[in-house]
């Protein structure tokens, strides 16, 4: 369980696995950090939290990774050691008491100041060739990032 950086002519792809949906999201986000930086310092930086919502499971992964890229630019920190505390599915529409109508995610990351790392820019997450699939022993994801 974890991630691999995969060859792509122009960009970078991350193939990730996890024994839960939360774990595969975490591994994909760590793959994004690895695509940005070869040597991540082990202790530098403070943790921060983020919340993301989206209408579909794949869109939640897209928006989560997009939010990490956005936060990298505005906080001037590379998000690493990603933790996804929970992913909640939309409530069943037949349940009149249910409130949630979208997928949602609670996560955190350690923000390493960009000045402290030799990092390069990943521009964006893409939907191209994106896969997020349930498999026998958990989940698999494949995401291409624009570099």
């Amino acid at each position: 369980m974890g991630f691999e950086l995969r060859d792509h002519t122009a960009d970078v792809a991350v193939a990730a696995t996890g024994d839960s949906l939360e774990a595969v999201f975490e591994a994909t986000a760590d793959g994004l950090a690895a695509a940005s930086c070869d040597e991540i310092p082990p202790e530098t930086g403070e943790r921060f939290s983020l919340t993301v919502t989206a209408e579909r499971r794949e869109a939640l992964l897209f928006d989560y990774l997009g939010e990490l890229i956005y936060l990298r630019d505005v906080r001037a920190e590379l998000p690493v050691d990603n933790r996804v505390a929970s992913i909640d599915a939309p409530a069943d529409e037949s349940d009149a008491d249910a409130e949630a109508t979208a997928w949602s995610l609670e996560a955190s990351a350690r923000g390493v100041p960009l000045a402290a790392v030799d990092a390069r820019e990943v521009k964006a997450v893409t939907y191209s060739e994106m896969r997020l699939e349930s498999v026998a022993d958990g989940w698999e994801a494949y995401v291409v990032f624009d570099v």
């Binding site: 060859d7 002519t9 122009a10 209408e55 590379l78 030799d118 820019e121 939907y127």
Partner: protein, 488 residues
Amino acid sequence: MTTYDANGITLERVREYVWEIPQEGDMRVPARVLASEALLEQIEDDKTLEQIKNTTHLPGITDHAICMPDGHQGYGFPVGGVGALDAENGCISPGAVGYDINCGVRMMRTNLTYDEVQGHEEELVDSLFANVPSGLGGGGIVEAGVDTVDEILARGVDWALENGHAVEDDLLHCEDEGMREGADPDKVSQKAKDRGKNQIGSLGSGNHFLEVQRVTDVFDGEVGEAYGLSEDQIVVLIHCGSRGLGHQTCNDYLRKIEQQHEGLLNQLPDAELAAAPAGSQLAEDYYAAMNAAINFAWVNRQLIMHRTRQVFERVFDRSWEEMDMHLLYDVAHNIAKKETHTVGEDGEERELYVHRKGATRAFPAGHPEVPKAYRDVGQPVIIPGSMGAGSYVLRGGENSMDLTFGSTAHGAGRLMSRTQAKNEFWGGDVQQDLEEQNQIYVKAQSGATVAEEAPGVYKDVDEVVRVSDALGIGDKVARTFPVCNIKG
């Protein structure tokens, strides 16, 4: 009929360097690939041909989807893709423009010769590296509040002129005089503005760079003279785009399209081709936001160029005006523009969203949208090569309007993945080899970037330009060779 079998996709030869993938299944038009067999061999195993086929599924695509000679696999659209989509009954696709809206190149002339620069290379590369922000988190030349960002988005290089970062002549030598009409800052999200406000005047990283070059060959003396180019002359080439502001804008609109036009999206073979139907509010909004991001990118390159003038002033101890440091031209190569083209067998004039993703506009002599300074000879086209190879200046060719909606290539085109590049090259070795063998001085924020951008990871730019020239879509004018290069 001559055919070329590329791992299950058969291309039919239409004429020399023009190959067609016939229409089949849900393709709305055939796809065309402009390439020699040597260039075809380099893309037959990746997804380039599948991606140009996918592009033909977009509603309103006209005549052909076309892959330029430097085309290679990207996401959604291939890099090097041109697609003209009907502006009344078709659509506009953020993914077919790309995340880096108005990524492009500009070239600045000088009257310095290579002899005058030799001996100053290290000082020059160090000073450029210290004064032109690059890399991730390197800041920008200008730090702006939201009001300033809005002004830049609305007015483009005109803002730079008013604030002392440009001269009038710069505007006259930029596509659209450095300002897209119809740009609306209100259609650009706050998140995009937040990303962009600290990056105004910065190279970024990846394949973006600033390079001092010397002109080694002038192939067309008359056009070279019109462009102000002569052998042994020093020029400066700047390659970058709209930074995080553009990336976020593309991201935002892809998601809006996904939410509002799911029906159209479901017809497409790749979600990254997501498109808003022409005439819809979202199509209008994206076009206005994209135009604003285009203006932002032009200001970005303008600020870097103006800072470069100041660096040259210090290194060579004379004013930039004395060194005749004037903009030759600035071209976008990730863009969609509403243009009128003659299409179909009956020669109908139609307004189209011409998407050029990793492709350069290449309008020929006489076209009314070529700046007055170059209208008699054709629009300059700048084709950057790798940091160990030459770059080219072309002019828009006579056949470009018939063959490519007025477009040609945008660079050498990648051949090798970044991960493979890092396995095969070490940044320090690449830097040392370039300096010792070719007298090219390179300075970068990251050694990994140097490895990823090593000369060996790119196609042969000479072959790309040879095909463009032979097709008459972009004619060779001059060739340049690196002197020093900075990157993120």
